[in-house]
Symmetry: C2
Subunit: 395 residues, 2 copies
């Protein structure tokens, strides 16, 4: 772009120029673009005629116009530059950066434009997605749970959003790909930057079957603050963020904090208290900052539509559960070995003999007890084991 | 006892008779004893002159007087029969069965008398104790955590109350004994009944150095409902119950329910979501029925006196945390390898060059950056690794 560019792609060129001219997030720039449109905004900045509040924010890069090269690179790879003018813009998800505006920090963090690569539509992803994040130093346990939860939510047609990092992120992306689910990686660098290097192949697969998303123009390298900035997008693009494993100091906790600030659901998976990789999850749970989830259904309760509820886990039951308290008391008073008279049983149960007869008859009908020669014994055929019957389950 | 017994131990004989004549808990019997005293109550029941409301409850055993044999056995073993007339009676702890009386179920469950064996004083135990319970089918993880938590609370002079069962109970008792702590086992059988058989030696050690507690007279065998009845005492005898591991159906959950009903603190230890032995804990935590604890300090916060608070866990920090956001942004804009001019750094940080100079100077002073021939580079000597610096911890 050299001055006010014309032609059919002039608007797109202007957007590409604007998407690089200030470090995101930059609410001042967004406000200016919304007011005068992208072409006039780009022209004003290029010529030094921007509002004074913008000057310091664009001064360093205003003379750097890579818009042509950026768009060429994007076209070569089959990507696209998304702005709030596009149908695919996830307006509902990103509205939370402005709606309400109760929180200044929240309001200041909308993205100006997003660089995308992949066949999935971002608006559709954001409509029904779960953000799954966690420590890079994941344990086998954490990766297994991330995979299981991912398969469970993909099975219910949720997309899985994560950050493309090692550990939990990778386990979530990989599990989603493995079951042909939709997965999106929100990056802290340009769409062409293979970061982390060891994930080149994974990111490539995501770009072919899911979606790479970033607000950073091509070539931009990741930086500490860009990861934190990226986290807000990962949180915004779903209704619920799940932290699978996180140390006490963790980027995942930052994503979770963003999710909370944006009014999203936040869940954390517990783990062994002896595992440092779960310490951040436990702290969030103790502080009431996250809901404890153990199964995909729990996540869906938070992420899904109204009424998508988890089924209650089945509690294991034994035949004895169907007995009345009186019948149980009589049953327990039967001797562990051998047989007993009605009087002995009544004594054991601390009941008058006449109150024992009815329950005994019902226990016989249920096949739990039997009488011979006026003496009662437990029937063992049903495989019922009273041994150690302290009412506690074996699991 | 044969009718109204006289002599110096007549009252004790009466108590022993009463402690066996009805299956506990029996609030009608307690009310009667409180009204007329133990000797008159025993005599009335023995002669069939008890209040009508009691008749069905004592009819089965009124003619069985084992009081002499019971007290002999107790004397031989060095035990004692505790009643609400004794100094050692844990009146404060047991008051919650009556105080408030908002809950009928709660009110109906006070014990009449307790059979004790061991050197510890029950009133002192109950004054500063933690009840630790869990599944018999504990995992190595659960037993390790039970042991660790026990050592931690013993270290702060808490007694540890449990149920003498296999699994978590045993791990808690054993850990307390190992560090010379006080531990009490609340039994669902007579003090002379070695249950479970495999714990004969453990129960013996507890009786020599801690305390065996039961409301069941000598010789009484455990039964399903007695375990549930026992659980209420285990919960009542401390200010906080900790469930270390529990399946979905678990006696430990019953103890926790009693603790809640009695207004005690309830904690649960999380574990792997893939472990059935932690499923009950996770369910309690999800339902808000327990507080998540990972360390002994968390338990002490609930069980201890006002102001006994856990220390905040230390969050690992890096030198970069002390930088301002502007300094961080400039630091991140330094190239990963090689050096860069101020203009290049300003471009990377999206800042005017004049805003970069100050932070660069401070980074140099902090030893984080160095300049040579007008070009700036990261100083590596401090062992700072920017590689993968996405703000997430390795743990």
């Amino acid at each position: 772009m050299t001055g006010p560019a014309g032609g059919p792609d002039a608007t797109l060129r202007a957007w590409a120029y604007l998407a690089r001219v200030a470090e995101p997030p930059c609410p001042e720039l967004i406000a200016f673009v919304r007011r005068v449109g992208p072409q006039d905004a780009a022209h004003a900045i290029w010529t030094g005629a921007e509002p004074e509040s913008l000057t310091a924010l664009v001064a360093a890069r205003r003379e750097t116009d890579c818009s042509g090269a950026d768009l060429d690179l994007l076209a070569n790879r089959g990507g696209r530059l998304l702005t709030f003018d596009d149908d695919e813009w996830p307006a509902v998800a990103l509205a939370s950066f402005r709606a309400g505006a109760a929180n200044a920090k929240r309001e200041a963090n909308a993205p100006l434009a997003l660089w995308l690569l992949g066949p999935a539509r971002l608006d559709q992803v954001a409509e029904r997605a779960v953000t799954m994040v966690g420590t890079r130093a994941a344990t086998c346990y954490g990766e297994q749970v991330a995979g299981d939860l991912t398969v469970g939510v993909v099975d219910r047609d949720f997309a899985v959003v994560s950050g493309g990092a090692y550990g939990i992120d990778a386990a979530a992306h990989r599990a989603a790909l493995a079951v042909d689910g939709v997965t999106a990686a929100v990056l802290a660098c340009g769409i062409d930057v293979p970061y982390p290097a060891g994930h080149s192949a994974l990111l490539h697969r995501i770009s072919q079957r899911g979606l790479l998303v970033t607000e950073y123009p091509p070539g931009v390298r990741p930086a500490r603050y860009r990861f934190l900035t990226r986290n807000r997008l990962a949180a915004a693009l779903s209704r619920t963020t799940v932290v699978v494993e996180a140390g006490l100091r963790s980027g995942a906790a930052n994503t979770a904090a963003w999710a909370r600030m944006l009014g999203r659901g936040v869940c954390a998976v517990p783990g062994p208290v002896t595992s440092a990789a779960s310490a951040g999850c436990h702290e969030m749970l103790r502080n009431g900052e996250a809901e404890l989830v153990t199964r995909a259904e729990h996540v869906i309760e938070l992420a899904g539509r109204c009424g998508e509820l988890a089924e209650e886990p089945e509690h294991p039951a034994t035949v004895l559960d169907h007995l009345t308290p009186l019948q149980q008391r009589v049953y327990e008073a039967l001797p562990g070995r051998g047989a007993a008279t009605v009087e002995q049983i009544a004594l054991g149960a601390a009941l008058p003999p006449e109150q024992v007869l009815g329950p005994l008859a019902l226990l016989e009908l249920s096949g739990l007890a039997e009488s011979r020669d006026g003496r009662w014994r437990i029937r063992r055929e049903r495989g019922l084991d009273r041994g150690g019957g302290d009412g506690r389950s074996a699991t």
